[in-house]
């Protein structure tokens, strides 16, 4: 992995084109500011529960997301705000959900860990580590059964790669050659336990060998590396050649959740990664290659700030769900299924 800013233009830039590159950069800014906005709101007591921020991991979310088509699907994790935005989610409805409002993505019933928008291909963040893997495989099976040319991106973290569900899912995807790309965002820690202490192999991607399909490790903070590898894996899946395990080495700036005291990692480590900020890397690269101007960057950042501020205000003004609706949405034909005595 090469962390030095690479000023040469990666091949993927040509494939994507200027517009998509701008879109990618904006999305990464949007994710970052969304996370920071959410953090601020949380500290002000506007958000119930906790949240798992993906600050520092923007490149893996966007690098994969930018390579998708509208009919493709994703499953995500408890650290899934970035994935959701990369799949096209609107921050204001995400904020509304965090504030528990009735017009949030999940009508206030799911919260941060369960953000989803099935209609647009986001099968949801998942509160269970490894919970999304079998579901992603099932969605891929459905795509194959219906002969659609689409794929499923299954995001998960390094912690999930030791769950039984991980192994069962990769095996099933392999034997049935399903159109799913397993994207592991390896940020070196499953909560407080480092991968060195928890995982028998050095790289998660090695595990693909056990299931006889390609495993690739990339610099997860380098947008172009991620996008390039993702593009190949997605194409492979679309062709019908089966799954790939794509490991993005990255880092989360913040703790696991809002209650994390970062006792398990050093300040030096955190700072060294902050210095390799993926947004700054991409932005500097685009500037250096004349693919964006300073004024455009400034305007982009401002528009993102505005969008986030408007989103938070929208959420604050949104209505709360009604208590009378407590047991709504449990069953599809609710009235005929009332089970109450």
């Amino acid at each position: 992995m090469n962390d030095r800013i690479n000023q040469a233009q990666p091949a993927i830039y040509e494939k994507l084109g200027r517009d998509k590159l701008h879109k990618a950069l904006r999305q990464m800014h949007l994710i970052r500011m969304f996370e920071e906005g959410a953090e601020q709101a949380y500290m002000r007591g506007l958000v119930h529960g906790t949240m798992h921020l993906s600050i520092g991991q923007e490149a893996s979310a966007v690098g994969v997301g930018i390579m998708l088509e509208s009919g493709d699907y994703i499953t995500s994790t408890h650290r899934g705000h970035g994935h959701c935005i990369a799949k096209g989610a609107d921050p204001k409805f995400m904020f509304a959900e965090f504030f528990g409002k009735d017009n949030g993505y999940c009508r206030g019933r799911g919260g941060s860990m369960h953000i989803a928008d099935v209609a647009s291909g986001n099968l949801g963040a998942n509160g269970i580590v490894g919970g999304g893997l079998p579901i992603a495989v099932g969605a891929a099976l459905a795509l194959k059964q219906t002969k659609k040319p689409n794929v499923v991106i299954c995001f998960f973290g390094d912690g999930a790669n030791n769950e039984g569900a991980f192994h069962e899912s990769l095996n099933m995807a392999a034997i049935w050659k399903l159109p799913v790309v397993f994207v592991c965002e390896n940020n070196k820690y499953g909560m407080s336990t480092s991968t060195e202490r928890s995982t028998a192999v050095k790289n998660v991607s090695q595990r693909a060998q056990a299931y006889d399909f390609p495993g690739v490790t990339v610099n997860g903070n380098d947008f172009s590396e991620v996008a390039s590898a993702a593009g190949e894996a997605i194409a492979r899946a679309r062709r019908g050649d089966g799954p790939t395990l794509l490991e993005c080495m990255t880092y989360r700036h913040r703790g696991h959740s809002k209650s994390d005291r970062n006792r398990y990692r050093t300040k030096e480590e955190i700072d060294s990664w902050i210095a390799r900020d993926p947004i700054q890397l991409l932005q500097a690269n685009l500037l250096a290659n004349g693919l964006i101007e300073d004024e455009e960057v400034a305007a982009m950042v401002k528009s993102v700030e505005d969008e986030i501020e408007a989103g938070i205000n929208f959420a604050k003004d949104s209505p709360d769900p009604k208590v009378e609706d407590l047991t709504a949405f449990v069953y599809t034909n609710q009235n005929s299924e009332t089970s109450n005595v």
């Binding site: 019933r109 099976l141 795509l143 899912s169």
Partner: protein, 332 residues
């Protein structure tokens, strides 16, 4: 459509339902261990693979957790998977996907999607399969909002309720007692559904109500025939569905008979009868109770291997007869 009745076994009725569902709706497909050319551990899927091919009758690896999750994912994309567990006991391996995912996704997403899957569970004791292959775990699932849990006791109901379950937009846990597989009964031809929220009165009576499910329905009916000779009139209700439970039929019956016995194979404590008893006491039927409610449920131990112990571990006909006598004669 012909309404002719003919005799089919419970497992044949299920096979017929699966075939009809797959003919009618190309989204329906089966998954499970050894359901293909082997025909299923209990020969339920039989020759379906020859009719529908291996893409629709899929053998899975021994991976219950992923298997259940694949069903969830496929259902989210509007397929209609029917996932067969080889033994209900193996549900323990898949609880994460059943309880945390299938049951809750609709709710957590504010009602914006559904999970239209069916999971089938051969369950129950009496075959000497011992503790890890004989359990009745329906109560576990009936405790989870978001799931539907059904337990038909006759071939005709097995077919109709399975077809209804496959049509249902929500996740349905379908429990099949192993000892019922060979039981024969009249089964209408053609496609029909039975409601998933209605109990059925199998025998009308006036002295005591027995609420039972699965194989216990048949034991209760046997017991009722025995005590009829003593002048005791027993009403036997087949629950058919645990969630949603048809409370109003139960309440009406107990209001009429004034006595209640619950018979179920699952462990007595925290089991089906516990829910029925509590619901009756909370209802208008409370003021009509003329005797304590009796729960006959599974013994407080894992299912034993020895055949006598195995029988002693679940309610049998003599136990039911004795309970009826004590309840009706006012001796409890």
């Amino acid at each position: 459509m012909s309404n002719e009745m003919r005799e089919l076994s419970y497992s044949q009725a299920i096979q017929e339902a699966l075939g009809l569902a797959m003919e009618r709706d190309e989204r329906v497909f089966l998954m499970g261990e050894d359901i293909g050319v082997y025909g299923g551990a209990f020969q339920v899927t039989g020759d379906l693979i020859h009719r529908f091919g291996e893409d629709r009758v899929m053998d899975t690896p021994i991976s219950e957790l992923a298997g259940a999750g694949v069903a969830v994912g496929a259902a989210l994309l509007n397929r209609r998977p029917v996932y067969e567990f080889q033994f209900s006991d193996f549900a323990a391996l898949a609880m994460e996907q059943i309880v945390n995912q299938a049951a809750k996704i609709r709710f957590m997403l504010g009602g914006k999607t559904s999970v239209p899957l069916v999971m089938r569970f051969p369950c129950g004791s009496g075959t000497g399969a011992a503790a890890q292959h004989s359990q009745s775990l329906e109560s576990w699932f009936a405790h989870v909002p978001g799931l539907k849990v059904v337990q038909p006791s006759t071939p005709a109901d097995a077919k109709g309720m399975l077809l209804a379950a496959i049509e249902d937009p929500d996740p349905v846990m379908f429990f099949e007692h192993k000892l019922l597989y060979k039981m024969k009964g009249h089964v209408p031809e053609g496609y029909y559904t039975e409601p998933l929220n209605q109990a059925k009165i199998r025998r009308q009576g006036s002295d005591v109500t027995i609420v039972a499910s699965a194989i216990m329905v048949h034991k209760a009916l046997e017991a009722a025939a025995i005590v009829e000779k003593e002048g005791i009139s027993v009403e036997v209700i087949d629950l058919r569905s645990l969630r949603p439970m048809d409370y109003s039929t139960l309440i009406d019956s107990v209001c009429k008979t004034t006595r209640l016995i619950c018979v179920y194979e699952g462990t007595k404590q925290f089991g089906i009868g516990t829910e029925v008893a509590a619901a009756i006491v909370e209802s208008a039927a409370f003021d009509r109770l003329d005797a304590p409610i009796i729960r006959l449920g599974g013994a407080d131990c894992p299912l034993p291997y020895n055949p006598e112990l195995e029988k002693a571990a679940v309610p049998q006909v003599p136990n039911i007869v004795e309970a009826i006598r004590r309840s009706v004669k006012g001796r409890i």
